[in-house]
Amino acid sequence: MSETVHSTRDDHRIAWLTALAISIHIAESALPSPLPGVKPGLANVVTVIALIHYGWSTAAWVALLRVLVGSIVIGTFLSPTFALSLAGAVASVAVLRLASWAPVGLFGPVGYSLLAALAHMAAQFWTAYWLFIPHEALLHLFPLLMSAAVIFGTVSGVIALLTLKGLRAGASP
């Protein structure tokens, strides 16, 4: 007796996009970071493009699977780092859910990316504060981390914007 797993087109699409996001995630994890918690978050670009092209549920799958598989590959699965990434990803996916209820065309990639980056950083920070280092000195890092989130969220958004332009130009003959 054999069982066949039927996968849909959506599954394949999610798998491809997640693979891309994981590659970026892993490449980025090799970069040195000036402060714990600060990194460009370029995998966010893939989430934003998935959101705009295929809708929120694809984007949510890609973001959450990326954190899960990325952590297994890097070796941080179930470590504090993983808890922080997961909290960030869940928060950014939740914020994108709210933002994607807005009328189509209200937010562009930059808006989505910024909202996601801010939510990710804020959730990550407060998780770190409540769970791991409940010391007031940690609060001094919060403005710096949020500044980084604004900068990198905007940069990721602009990259997503340019990528989407390229995709549209490539799609239309």
């Binding site: 808006g111 909202l115 409940p134």
Partner: protein, 119 residues
């Protein structure tokens, strides 16, 4: 970029100065100094009264000074003198330590925090 994108960006940038003033502004005011020495129960003293304390450690006596709501290591018999060079502590959460002499001095604010952290 859409108008909403610009709005999000402007709001995000406007948020940053608020965060910096909130989290980088003066830390909570301190009203007590907590002095912990090796093998002795921690001592809490109010910052409202100016005084000098001689705290005994393995190397000898460290002199701590409380003055005008601030506290510092005035002198210590340790070789490195890092504790003395930490200078005046004024805000809640500030901390100076003399590890060779086993003495830490930290300022406490009105808001109780936590007893210890375990990892």
């Amino acid at each position: 970029m859409t108008r909403a994108d610009w709005l999000v960006l402007l709001l995000a940038i406007a948020l940053l100065p608020v965060l910096y003033t909130k989290y980088w502004g003066a830390g909570g005011p301190a009203d007590r100094a907590r002095i912990a020495a090796n093998g002795q129960a921690p001592l809490e003293i109010p910052l409202s009264r100016n005084q000098q304390l001689h705290i005994h450690g393995p190397l000898g006596d460290s002199v701590l000074e409380v003055k005008d709501g601030r506290a510092r290591f005035l002198s210590s018999p340790c070789p490195g003198q890092q504790c003395v060079h930490s200078g005046w502590l004024a805000r809640a959460g500030d901390l100076a330590a003399c590890l060779p002499n086993g003495i830490t001095l930290s300022l406490q604010g009105a808001r109780p925090r936590f007893d210890s952290i375990n990892f």
